[in-house]
């Protein structure tokens, strides 16, 4: 339950209900599909039904002849536009030419082939059924390991080995560590393809005014400014003649941290037909052509001493890239490698990534992006090591954390963990479940034949992307604060929140700093013509990078207010807080509103001071932030059916200072739900001909209210030097910590049957088979 707000109390740290909610709960918010414009046309895209095929011919005549159809475009019409950009760079990276529409060949089911534009969305849909495409189907490959086998069908004929890149990273002396190890544990661990499935699909409205040569693009995106820069490039437009507006965005989870063919395509169409045009992705399309997440096959090895001290870590990572690189596709597995030691003192690590092309939709950033895969791997391996050494998994973990005094802690992969007390959240979680009692209860349950398990995972997360040298396109963030002449406050953030609640948390920060009511503050975002350049919302960065940018802008603004206050109060001993400046000698006060009015009226100005009250700050973070935490899951497997019941879910997170605990809980719950989805039920399945056979929500199982457990949250606070607010990101934490805790608990439930590892998702049939076969899969 939220508290209501009064003016002068401190707001940061309070459970305040959100400023963005009134429009959302009344159905009056504007999402992209809610936009209507005079003369607006509708586009519908014809997509390949084949995983791989040559296009022999396309006949658009029957479609173009329909009443209401104004245009049909195919690949050759739009050759001048593009390509779809890849923002990641790796040595030797092979980047396939990624055209807006397919030319003479299609590379995955869903590959756009033609676009029909009509006066009405029903007519546009009818039109694509009338386009005749003659395909010559080719052999396709969907399994990344099979794609690496000699003789596999080549996704791109020019690269018959299907290898987009290899990447090697090493730290310490891994070979020596493995040679000297007393125990080596190995396991193949997969992290399946997932469909991000924001409940709002993607969508674009493009409006081109030819007289001014101005293109306005409304897009459901997480990165309005980057989108403007890149789409302007794709279309050959001057960037300052393009405006991107991000209306309300119905969820992204990384899938809208991208630049898609359709965004440039709609710009192209609007310019061609001279009318606004709208394209709204159907759910079928969302499954087929919006990026997927994960897609790992990992081979892990851990070297350790018999006493449980970890020594070395080896990883061979096969990343299913899909047919093309989207914005960050090849970069995602490199994040896994950076984070592969988890929270443990592995001083010797070696990793090799192979990025593999398949005839599937590209993978890219999906909630956690690379870190859930890494955490899943290392946390599963720690359990396997504990099993091998017959050690308690909690004890093994506690033994291998760096000590509180070892921060900043430099990892073998070259990261500097800013601050931490990794034992604290784990100990708190163990207390919350009463661990020793719980283990006894488990022994009793197992003695009675019940399959009860306890799973632990700890996680560290690299977030707050990030220092610019380590982030494609820059990792800083921007904020502007204005006090309007009437005294009302406007915040412009370069982040692009879409559910995270920064309109509220940023207002809390500004209200505290300025001492004004939250009601007097509005936070604007997502319009490139209103907001200064910004990077956007992803990678748990909005509060952790956008927050400090706002904080510094507020400091600059306060300094200016003070100058005006001193001038107006005719004193050099002035304190500004609580929405006013006070002269410490006379006690005379002046409200910010009066100061604002005077600053804009500018009858008189303080020395070396410009009129107006506005400050902008671009903040470059000195480092990533590394939040951490621990999850514990208690589960029971139904012996007869293999169904898993999550009996308890405890998540303890250390994201340092919390601006709004209500919202942090919401982020953790939502993150855990997506982790549980991966652990238990979600999987994008391509068959051997690269058909996506979980092509809709009827076959792709999302967690439902009835399948989600109650989540108990806890927090520890370990001060961090990383930014002035002492905040770290929390958006991805729940997801990252979740899946290994769930799988560890289920493996624990079945371990007496000889089960060591189970790949996700833990479907009931899979578990039932293991139970029936006494652990032999």
């Amino acid at each position: 339950m939220a508290t209501t707000i009064t003016k002068t109390e401190t707001l940061v740290g309070k459970r305040i209900r959100r400023k963005e909610d009134p429009r959302l709960i009344t159905g009056t918010a504007t999402y992209v599909d809610d936009i209507q414009m005079p003369g607006m046309h509708h586009a519908c895209i014809l997509r390949s039904p084949h995983g791989a095929a040559r296009i022999r011919s396309i006949n658009i005549k029957p479609a173009i002849n329909q009443a209401g159809v104004v245009a049909v475009f195919i690949g050759k019409d739009i050759e001048a536009v593009g390509p779809v950009p890849c923002g990641a760079s790796l040595p030797g990276l092979r980047v396939p030419a990624h055209s807006i529409l397919a030319k003479d060949r299609v590379y995955y089911v869903g590959h756009p082939v033609a676009v029909a534009v009509a006066t009405d969305r029903y007519i546009a849909r009818d039109a694509i059924d009338l386009i005749e495409v003659d395909y010559e189907p080719l052999q396709a490959v969907s399994d990344p390991e099979k794609a690496l086998e000699p003789g596999a069908p080549a996704v791109h004929p020019e690269w018959p080995d299907n290898t987009a890149f290899t990447f090697h990273q090493e730290g310490g002396e891994p070979e020596k560590a493995f040679k000297e190890a007393e125990v080596v544990v190995k396991q193949r661990i997969t992290s399946q393809r997932l469909v991000p499935t924001s409940i709002e699909t993607r969508g674009v409205v493009a409006d081109y005014r030819s007289a001014e040569k101005n293109l306005t693009l409304y897009s459901s995106t997480q990165i309005p400014h980057l989108l403007r820069t890149l789409v302007a490039q794709m279309l050959g437009l001057a960037e300052n003649r393009m405006r991107v507006i991000t209306p309300e965005v119905g969820g992204g989870f990384g899938s809208k941290l991208n630049v898609y063919a359709e965004e440039a395509l709609m710009g192209f169409v609007a310019m061609k037909i001279g009318k606004p045009v709208k394209w709204i992705e159907s759910r079928r399309e969302n499954f087929l052509c919006t990026i997927h997440g994960r897609g790992h096959v990992d081979y892990y090895e851990i070297a350790a001493r018999r006493d449980g001290t970890v020594l070395g870590l080896r990883l061979k990572l096969i990343q299913d890239l899909g047919a093309y690189h989207q914005l960050l596709t090849p970069a995602i597995p490199t994040l896994s490698v950076l984070m592969m030691p988890g929270l443990y003192k592995f001083r010797n690590v070696i990793a090799d990534i192979v990025g593999v092309f398949t005839n599937c939709v590209p993978t890219d950033a999906y909630r956690g992006a690379g870190r859930p895969e890494a955490t899943h791997g290392i946390e599963r391996m720690m359990d396997l090591l504990a099993l091998e050494l017959k050690m308690d998994p909690a004890e093994l973990r506690l033994k291998n954390f760096p000590g509180k005094g070892e921060f900043p802690y430099l990892t073998a992969t070259g990261l500097s963990y800013d601050s931490g007390d990794y034992a604290a959240p784990l100990k708190k979680a163990l207390d919350m479940v009463d661990y020793h009692k719980l283990r006894n209860a488990q022994r009793d349950a197992k003695a009675k034949g019940r399959l009860m398990g306890i799973g632990i995972s700890t996680y560290g997360e690299i977030c707050a992307f990030g220092p610019s040298p380590a982030t494609p396109a820059g990792g800083w963030e921007s904020a502007t604060v204005k006090i309007e002449p009437s005294g009302k406050v406007t915040v412009l953030t370069g982040t692009s929140p879409h559910g995270q609640g920064e309109e509220t948390t940023f207002a809390q920060i500004a209200a505290d700093e300025l001492g004004v009511s939250m009601d007097d503050i509005i936070v604007l975002h997502g319009d490139t013509s209103i907001v200064q350049y910004g990077i956007g919302t992803f990678g748990s960065r909005s509060t952790a990078v956008g927050g400090p940018a706002l904080y510094y802008a507020l400091q600059d603004l306060k300094a200016k207010i003070k100058k005006f206050g001193e001038m107006l109060l005719e004193s050099d001993d002035v304190t500004c807080s609580g929405g006013q400046c006070i002269c410490n000698k006379t006690g005379k006060t002046i409200e910010f509103a009066q100061i604002a009015a005077a600053s804009y009226r500018a009858m008189k100005l303080p020395p070396n001071t410009e009129p107006g009250l506005m400050a902008t700050h671009f903040w470059e973070p000195p480092n990533f932030a590394f939040p951490f935490g621990a999850h514990i899951v208690v589960s029971e497997v139904d012996r007869d059916t293999g169904q898993v019941e999550i009996q308890r879910y405890v998540a303890v997170d250390d994201c340092v200072n919390i601006i709004n605990p209500l919202l942090v809980d919401g982020q953790i719950h939502g993150g855990v739900a997506q982790g549980l989805g991966q652990a238990l039920c979600e999987q994008a399945v391509y068959d051997e001909n690269a058909q996506l056979i979980t092509g809709e929500l009827m076959d792709y199982a999302l967690p439902k209210a009835s399948t989600m457990p109650y989540i108990e949250t806890g927090h520890t606070i370990t001060p961090s030097p990383v930014n002035p607010l002492g905040v770290k990101g929390v958006g991805e934490a729940g997801t990252i910590g979740c899946s290994p805790a769930v799988v560890n608990s289920v493996v624990d439930a079945l371990s007496h049957l000889g089960v060591r590892h189970i790949d996700m998702p833990l479907t009931s049939e899979k578990l039932w088979k293991l139970v029936r076969q006494g652990g032999q899969a």
């Binding site: 339950m1 939220a2 209900r17 959100r18 909610d21 009134p22 429009r23 959302l24 709960i25 009344t26 159905g27 009056t28 918010a29 504007t30 999402y31 599909d33 809610d34 209507q36 969305r121 029903y122 499935t197 924001s198 409940i199 709002e200 699909t201 309300e248 965005v249 119905g250 969820g251 992204g252 989870f253 709204i280 159907s282 759910r283 079928r284 879409h498 559910g499 995270q500 609640g501 209500l662 919202l663 809980d665 919401g666 719950h669 939502g670 993150g671 855990v672 739900a673 809709e696 929500l697 009827m698 999302l702 967690p703 439902k704 209210a705 009835s706 989600m708 109650y710 989540i711 729940g734």
Partner: protein, 156 residues
Amino acid sequence: MTRKITLKINGKSYSHEVEPRLLLIHYLREVVGFTGPHIGCETSICGACTVELDGKAVKSCTMFAVQADGRNVTTIEGLATDGRLHPMQEAFWNEHALQCGFCTPGMIMTSKELLERSPHPTDDEIRHGLEGNLCRCTGYQHIVNAVRAAAAKAGA
């Protein structure tokens, strides 16, 4: 090919010539302009399009506008009266039962019907009652809290 339909939406009468294939959700959103109900899937799974038809929660994307001829529709826009939020809207706000907000109109409509049919539901009943509405942001916990809170408030 078109057909005239007349129906009440949020208490007001509307009449239009429509194609039989026009889905009720498109009619509400694009013809009449109630964009509160949303479209999240094609297959009647996600529930973002939920509205009330003659007092019952239905998925307006799995219904033709012609089927609603002569009937009463309530959308999320029809819940607040005289600028006062419906208790379920208030509860969703207080409990932080939404993040991106896209599923919220449908979720509120289903929750409202749930309490009308069962004023004092258990958590389990709430969770089962919301099976036809997907949310990808909240993990449902705050939604369950909101429905429980609205029930408690109504019972108080």
